[in-house]
Amino acid sequence: MSKIPLQFRHNGREVAIFVDGGTNLLVALRELIGDMTPKFGCGQGGCGTCSVLIDGELHLSCLTLAETVAGRSIETLDGMKQGPNLHPLQRAFADNFAAQCGYCTPGMLMAAKALLDRNPSPSRDEVIEAISGNICRCTGYEPIINAILAAAGGRISA
């Protein structure tokens, strides 16, 4: 099968790669660009740990054909921190013990960022809805919900 040339923005930087037809975005990011922050969990859209933003919108990179992101802007966890400083969401996850094994964390952070980018002060229910496509096996979700609320407004729900 012939390779397809593909250009898109990856965390603000233009990238150009060749992909096989049918390659999904997760594989393109991890194996061709070397961005290992989107994780492979289930490969079928059930767990959310591969979540990335495409033009600011939350998507499952394992279910996105790489060819479809030509000319678009992809954000991953790798581009989240601001220089040497953690993003407020990353800081809040650390402060609120919102990660244990860490495997869901990249997807959770991207889902949280997608929410806060469009709704800077969400309610608890809006936070719950925003991360409901992401599975966490360790934390019981409560610390993650609290971290996102804390990052949103310095608030911690009771």
Partner: protein, 340 residues
């Protein structure tokens, strides 16, 4: 349709570690020429905090800042043997091994410092900030870094220590089956409150209140984190999870995350936790460890709460809506029990 509120309680007595070949774990501690220390283990940190807790135990025993200790673990090629991260044994077994290794390394460090300061090692103490000084004379002091350099390049000493913790194997009494697999036990009590829908059989968690006695909590935030997450796992076992098919055909088995039921972020409930600290005589700084028991009391407490709500006793996990509904139908309707 009526939603019935019910409350159930469960108490548990939980052994720390087990009786497999005596259940040993080993640790090695050595200083680097920079005055920092490395703890070599092969114990696994799954996110529960093994690295943080062994780091704290090592720093406290050596008398150095926690920043000066690095824990290198999870590789059985380079770390000394560990039975593993299970049976709630990590903090207790591995912690004790690290403590023994750090104590031996501290002995060498103090000898090396004594040689540099030209005093008796018994007269020296650490300040916990990276210095070793003569007791009662803080100005007569040397940094752990300078001690490490002197030991390495001048005295020809390795500041290092070996540690192992072993609970001797307990033989089973052939007459009674009696044995003593653990040396200390943690305890917990949990009250679960649920709503049971008598038309759909669905059970919703309303709240949990728990008290855990787990020796000294060496890192209270990590303990709390594990108790919160573990209780969620308990709810999941009680009400949702099974690799078995819910229907007789094996083809109906859950095959992936979409079909394998687990509670999501919208199913969590408030959970108030009280941690009681009763230091264990043989634990590292009195610690036992929360471990698996963070999930265990939830299952019986939820089953009891369902009985309290609608009067049906389900003894087969998970307690699915179908099982609740069939049981309610079999007894001719919900029979709420007295609230206590």
């Amino acid at each position: 349709m009526t939603r019935h509120r019910g409350r159930g309680i469960a108490s548990i007595n939980y052994p720390i570690g087990m009786n497999l070949g005596g259940d040993p774990s080993q640790a090695l501690v050595h200083s680097n020429p920079s005055g920092k220390f490395t703890v070599a283990l092969s114990s696994i940190d799954l996110g529960q905090g093994m690295k943080s807790v062994t780091r704290q135990i090592c720093a406290e025993t050596l008398g150095v800042p926690v920043e000066d200790v690095y824990v290198d673990t999870a590789d059985s090629d380079t770390g000394p043997h560990c039975m593993g991260s299970f049976a709630s044994r990590g903090t207790h077994r591995v912690g004790n091994a690290v403590m023994a290794a750090a104590r031996e390394a501290r002995g060498v460090m103090m000898e090396a410092a004594a040689e540099e300061l030209e005093v008796n090692a018994a007269d020296l103490d650490t300040d916990g900030r990276g210095n070793i000084h003569v007791k009662g004379a803080p100005h007569r002091s040397i940094s752990t870094k300078d001690v490490a350099i002197a030991a390495q390049f001048k005295q020809g000493k390795t500041i290092s220590g070996r540690g192992i913790f072993l609970v001797p194997l307990s033989e089973v009494n052939p007459e009674t089956g009696e044995m003593s697999p653990a040396t200390c036990y943690a305890h917990a009590c949990l009250v679960a409150e649920v709503d049971v829908d008598d038309e759909t059989g669905e059970v919703a968690m309303v709240r949990m209140d728990s008290a855990y006695e787990l020796g000294r909590a060496l890192n209270p935030r990590l303990v709390e984190q594990q108790l919160v997450g573990g209780a969620w796992m308990g709810v999941s076992h009680a009400l949702y999870e099974t690799p078995e098919p819910y229907y007789p055909e094996p083809v109906h088995c859950p095959r992936d995350f979409v079909e394998y039921l687990m509670p999501g972020p919208g199913d969590v409930c408030p959970h108030d936790i009280a941690v009681l600290e009763r230091p264990a005589p043989d634990g590292p700084f009195g610690a036992k460890g929360p471990g698996e028991m963070c999930a265990n009391p939830v299952l019986p407490a939820v089953a009891n709460a369902i009985f309290n709500a609608v009067g049906v006793r389900i003894d087969d996990l998970p307690i699915t809506p179908e099982k609740v509904l069939r049981a309610i139908k079999a007894q001719g309707g919900a029979r709420p029990q007295a609230r206590r």
